[in-house]
């Protein structure tokens, strides 16, 4: 980590992160939040920024597979960790999803489409990352557990009913794909 100084500008730090399996390097001030680093420096604008104090959950990304608020972490601290953003959830291999074992959408994304789990879409990236990690920990949640799993994410459109359905449907898709694989 080297610090360089520009005239009339705050010192920049060279920051290297592994994002969605790719090593990415960019210079940013030490105070750059991970959420802003992803969006501004790396142009990964799938991660959305809502409240910037950890309440809304829109900026949730996976850090070493665990969901965390990217607005409550500095990019400089996130070095040496594997970051997964919403852009990294869909399987790398594209396919038709016609039973051949290849899909364009991750199970959680597919469930949101099927269950109308989003309207404006602003909060969706945070829900997708949170639910993806949650289902790995609890592959067969009850409706109550599904509701609690998303309690840290705010949505102003859906009233949550269809998001809860999406969690349950995603669990089903996980099982279906696991069975057909």
């Amino acid at each position: 980590m080297s610090q360089t100084t520009r005239t009339n500008a705050e010192p920049l730090v060279e920051i290297t992160l592994r994002v969605n399996g790719v090593m990415r390097t960019a210079a940013a001030p030490a105070r750059r939040l991970l959420s802003d680093f992803l969006r501004h420096e790396l142009r990964l604008t799938g991660t959305h920024v809502g409240c910037e104090h950890g309440v809304c959950g829109a900026c949730t990304v996976l850090v070493d597979g665990m969901p965390m608020r990217s607005c409550l972490m500095f990019a400089v601290t996130a070095q040496d960790h594997e970051i997964t953003t919403v852009e990294g959830l869909a399987p790398a291999v594209e396919g038709t999803g016609n039973g051949t074992g290849t899909y364009t959408m991750s199970p959680v994304q597919q469930a949101f489409i099927e269950c109308h789990g989003l309207q404006c879409g602003f909060c969706t990236p945070g829900f997708l990352t949170t639910i993806t990690a949650y289902l790995q920990e609890n592959p067969e949640p009850t409706e109550t557990e599904a509701r609690e799993a998303i309690s840290g994410n705010l949505c102003r459109c859906t009233g949550y009913q269809n998001i809860v359905k999406s969690v349950l449907r995603a669990a089903e898709i996980n099982r279906e794909r696991g069975a057909s694989a």
């Binding site: 104090h53 608020r69 409550l72 500095f74 601290t77």
Partner: protein, 298 residues
Amino acid sequence: MKPSTFVHHAPGSVDEALAVLAEFGHDAKVLAGGQSLIPILNMRLAAPGHLVDINRIDGLDTIEVTADAVHIGALVRHAQLERHVGAFTHLPLLRQALLNVAHPVIRNRGTTVGSIAHADPSGEMPAVLALTSGYVDVASSRGTRTVAAGDFFLGPLESALAEDEMATGASFGRFPAGTGTAFAESTRRHGDYALAGVATAVTVTDGLITSARASFVSVTPMPDVLDLSDVLAGSAPEDGDWAKAAELAREHVDPDTDIHASAAYRRMLVGVLTARVLAEAASSATVSDATNANATRA
């Protein structure tokens, strides 16, 4: 909604961190999980010139269960402690309370020691540290010391940490055999700040309550312990005078009115929650007491 500028220090050892604090402590904050600190920085309620980011220090993420206590390092995340089987087995109150600390996503990053050092009266873990007669490991370039919970919390968001000191760990004391614990809080939404919360420990010996204590979340200026043994000692665990104990709890607390709830409502919640958790703790103490009795006979 962006932090002000600061110099980022990423020490590789506790000694390096303490050296930075010795030099810049008057204008520095220690950054561990950052789930309380970074919101404060983002909202510019604080703008320290230096951040001492301890996340790269090895050896601070350990959990150790001994005969007397559960010891945790400064980088143990809430989620890690919550899932630790040994910590849960020997001090179930830890997980009982941790499940109420913010949302799971916040617990993945936030640290328990950080929560204690933050000394927020609405934090669950300061109340647990107080109830378990725990202590905080404190270090500075001048040396190390341990500070008992009762001396650590000085007021809302105010701890006994000097500006060149850092909390390197904390220890939660284990309860004597035959002790049951329970934790409950009331929130507007699961994971939000508690309107009121209560942690209790009830000890049962030979089928009768011998000790009962409680500590509170969001309704006292700092975590302190209310001893309810005078009202409950000598009662059978299924037959304690919970209403009388609840009344003492209501008198003990000093809640504020804010946009979420009035002081009177919070005080009412304290009574309801106290009666509920005491009964629950006493009932689990019975199980634990019986187990111990069987173990002694076996």
